[in-house]
Every structure is written in C-alpha cells, then in structure tokens.
C-alpha cells in the first residue's frame, strides 16, 4: 500500500536535480575564477548575520582577486576559453532549473 518507490523517486530526483544545478554553477564559478574574472559580490544589505564581508573587506577582496588574476599562468586564449566555458556552465545550470519547472507543470506538456 505504501508507495516506497515514490519516495525513492523523490530522493533520487531531488538529489540528481540539485547535484546538476549546484555542480554546474560551482564549475562556472571555478572557471570564471580561472579566467581571471573572480566574482566578488558584496552583500546587498548588511545585517548582523553577515560577519564575513564588510564593504572595506569586499574592496580588499576585489583587489586581491585582481592581483591573483594578473599572476595567472594561463594565456589570454586559455582565459577566454575558460570564460566561455563558465558562461556555458551558468547557462546549463539555468536550463536545468527551467527543465525542472517544465517537468512539474502539467499545462506545459499537455499532461
């Protein structure tokens, strides 16, 4: 009576979906860093919860990132390739999310 397969399906679907989205995005960030465009995103608003980065620290981090990027052993072409791959990864991540939404909305695939 209890549909154990359904639970397993939920677990596997959630695990696979999350893994795809998170790993493609992470890979995108990794490649972006590799391409010398390390993202430094300061918090939109500072609350007590944010102890990690103040504006001064953000500026410092951006400087450090730029410095690290200068020392990169990669050639300009390799950096460009890494950047393209990074954009590809972010796109893939977004597409995975959209596909997930597509799957659960019956109206979109006539189910």
């Amino acid at each position: 009576m209890i549909d154990w397969t359904a639970f397993l399906v939920v677990l596997v679907a959630a695990l696979v979906g999350t893994a795809v989205v998170v790993s493609t995005y992470s890979l995108g960030i990794r490649l972006l860093t590799l391409s010398g465009r390390t993202p430094v995103v300061a918090p939109a608003e500072f609350t007590d919860a944010i102890t990690i980065m103040t504006p001064a620290e953000a500026a410092q981090a951006a400087k450090k990132a730029a410095k690290a990027a200068k020392k990169s052993p990669l050639t300009a072409g390799q950096k460009r390739a890494a950047f393209v791959c990074a954009v590809g990864c972010f796109t893939l991540s977004g597409v995975a999310v959209l596909y997930g939404i597509y799957l659960i909305v019956p109206a979109l695939h006539g189910g």
Binding site: I2, F7, T18, S23, I29, T33, A65
Partner: protein, 397 residues
C-alpha cells in the same frame, strides 16, 4: 444553519488559513538569501510574494490528494459535512497562531491535517479516516522529506565547496554564489506556492464536493485556485514586513555557497514531492536543508539540544492541532449553536493572539522562525582554513 452560509464561512476560514500559512512561511524561502545578503530584505519579500502567487497556478496534484483521499467520502464512506471541515480549520488556525506566538517550530500543513483528522475522528469515528492514505501521503512524507532534503543539501554543499576549493589561498570567487541564491530562493518561494496554496485549494474543493456543488474526485475550480494564490501571496507579503523589522537579530551565519545548496535542495525536494502528490511540510524541508547544508561545511557540529527541540515541535503539531480540531468538532455537533460558539471562540482566540503579539516584543524567536532556528542546530567554527594537500605532487618539468 443555512447550507450556503456555512460554505461561505468555511471558504473564508480556509482563505484565512492560507493567509496565515504565507505569513508563517515567508522565512522558509527568504531567510537564507537575506542572511547572506544576496537580496535586500524588501526585494526578497516582494519576490517571495509574487512567486508564491505564480507557484499556486502551476500544479494541482497536492490539492487532489487532500480533496480525494484522506477522508473516505462518497457512498461507501462517510458524508463529509462543511461543519466538520469548519472544525478542522479552526483547529489548524488556532494551533498555527499559537505556535507562531510561542515561536515553536511547527508546520502549517500538519496543523491542517491534524485539525481535519481530529474533527473527522470525533464526527464519525475511526472508520472515517483512510489511515493507509494518511500514512503513505502525510505521515511518512513528513518523516522522510526533511531527511531527504538534509541529505541532498549535505551532498550539494560538499559538492559546491569541493568544486570551488582552492588550496593556493587565492580568491575562490565563492561570493559569486550570491547571484545564484537570488534564483534558488525564488525557486523555493515558487515551490512553496505550488505545495502550500494547494492545501487550501484542496480543503475548499473538499467542501464544495461535500455539499454537492462539485462532482466527487474532481480537481479544484479555477476561481478557487485564484483566490488561494492571492491569499497566500498576501500573507507572504504581510509576514515579510515583520521579518524585515526584526532582521539581524537571530539569523545564523550562512555562507552564499551553503545557502545556495540549501535552497536548491529545498526547492528540488518540494517540487519533486508536489509532483507526486505528497503534501509535505515546506517548513520541515527547509529546516532539513539548512541543517544538512550546515553539516556539509567544514568544522561543523550538531547542537543536539536545539535539534531535539525542533523535533519535538514537529511531533507535537499533528496531535495538538488534532485535539483542537476534535474539540471544535465536538462543539459543532451541537448544531448551528455549536458552529456559532466555534466561530466566536475562534475569532476570540485569533484576535487575542494578534493583540498579544502586537503587545509583546517582536523577536527572532517568533518571526524569523524555524528555519533560522534550525541553522543554530549546526555549530560551525568561524572560517576554518582549508587543509593543504597532504603531499603536494612534484611535477617534473
């Protein structure tokens, strides 16, 4: 009592429950992005409200579970009366308001199921409840969903950190996950809309079926979907203002990569379950994800005492709301007078709690709620240094 009057009463009450649900659960989607500074609080709350509205239109699987399964209806079962649903809703709303006031972690969904089940038990006895459906569609998902979300969030956090880890001490660009969080938290809000707004749709549909305005086994009408979507979005927005007021008082240290992993896991778990018609608690899934992602970080430890408190709250909700629902059903059995007594008592409790909450200090305990609380379950050493590779490989040129 006039049949249509009670139907109107039930629908109004159901929509109020929907409103409190949104009110109660804004933090589920928006606690982590606000905590990491990915979104401005005002933007986060507005976004959550809009996406809850949109999400409510996406699917009706969960609504069908509620309107067509838990309580045996039709020829071979019992006749569900609007009075019974009314009593169940009173139980759910009262328990929701009490836990909100006390800052107890609780699930709006379990309050709803508890109330309905309690009312049906009093009204018709044990045979009224299809316990196998309750077990397979409500109780087991309730136990398994937080575990699933926790496991998924744990793996996702490990994955995100492993992929972006740099041993050379150069910037790793992990703050870039803040951008991702905007989307992942939006997805959680969307998922919340699809799962939780449907619960109210299910209840209203159940009522309409009970009075014969709709054939048994049919899905929710379009106007029901619309009003439920609006009610939950409104509740989300109103709830958000209180959260903004109290920001910065009780949020835990969540990092962007971790927040992103937690939100993605929450959204994936809720969406996958909604799709299969499991009416799980979004609160519990979000809490499970926050705990799981915290464990995925280096140097983390579980605070078992806090975890235990949250667990007890989860266990308590179903029976407690059931008890209130049963009591309300008992009174409603007296006929129109009973329904009147229920209504008056319910309104007194709701207004009383509302006034009480206005009087008392707004604190993180009763506003930022269970998701923030579950973040405290995991103790994390601040910024531990990554261990260098044990033996760096010497590459010969």
């Amino acid at each position: 009592m006039d049949l249509t009057l009670i139907v109107v009463l039930v629908i109004a009450l159901a929509l109020f429950f929907d409103f409190t649900n949104g009110f109660h659960d804004t933090a589920n989607a928006m606690a982590t992005p606000i905590a990491t500074g990915a979104l401005r609080p005002k933007v986060a709350v507005a976004l959550a409200a809009v996406l809850n509205l949109v999400g409510a239109f996406l699917s009706t699987e969960v609504a069908k579970t509620i309107s067509g399964g838990i309580i045996r209806e039709g020829d071979d079962g019992v006749l569900i009366t609007p009075e019974l649903i009314f009593a169940g809703l009173i139980g759910a709303i009262v328990w929701n308001m009490i836990t909100w006031l006390l800052g107890l972690p609780s699930s709006s969904s379990h309050a709803l199921f508890g109330g309905l089940i309690g009312a049906a038990l009093v009204g018709f006895g044990v045979q009224a409840i299809d316990f196998s459906v309750v077990l397979s569609k409500v109780v087991l998902p309730a136990l398994l969903a937080p575990l699933t979300a926790g496991l998924v969030a744990y793996s996702a956090t490990k994955l995100a950190y492993a992929i972006t880890r740099r041993y050379d001490g150069k910037p790793d660009g992990r703050s870039g996950f803040r951008h991702a969080q905007i989307f992942s938290s939006s997805l959680v809000a969307l998922a919340h809309g699809t799962n939780d707004a449907q619960k109210t749709m299910g209840v209203i549909t159940l009522t309409l079926i009970a009075v014969g305005l709709q054939p048994a086994g049919s899905g929710p009408e379009f106007w029901v979907v619309v009003v439920c979507a609006v009610a939950i979005a409104l509740g989300t927005y109103m709830g958000g203002w209180r959260i903004i007021k109290t920001l910065g008082t009780g949020l835990t240290d969540v990092k962007p990569a971790q927040g992103f992993a937690a939100e993605t896991s929450t959204a994936a778990t809720i969406l996958a379950s909604s799709h299969l018609g499991f009416a799980l608690s979004t609160t519990q899934v979000a809490s499970g994800s926050v705990i799981g992602s915290g464990l995925g970080r280096r140097g983390s430890k579980v605070r078992w005492r806090t975890a235990g408190r949250i667990g007890i709250g989860w266990l308590l909700t179903l029976p407690a709301a059931g008890a209130v629902g049963a009591l309300a059903a008992l009174v409603a059995h007296l006929g129109p007078v009973g329904v009147l007594i229920d209504t008056v008592a319910g309104v007194i409790v709701i207004v009383g709690i509302f006034l009480w909450s206005k009087r008392s200090e707004v604190s993180a305990g009763n506003v930022v709620s269970e998701v923030a609380a579950s973040g405290k379950v995991v103790k994390i050493k601040r910024n531990p240094k990554p261990k260098p590779n044990p033996k760096p490989k010497k590459v010969k040129p």
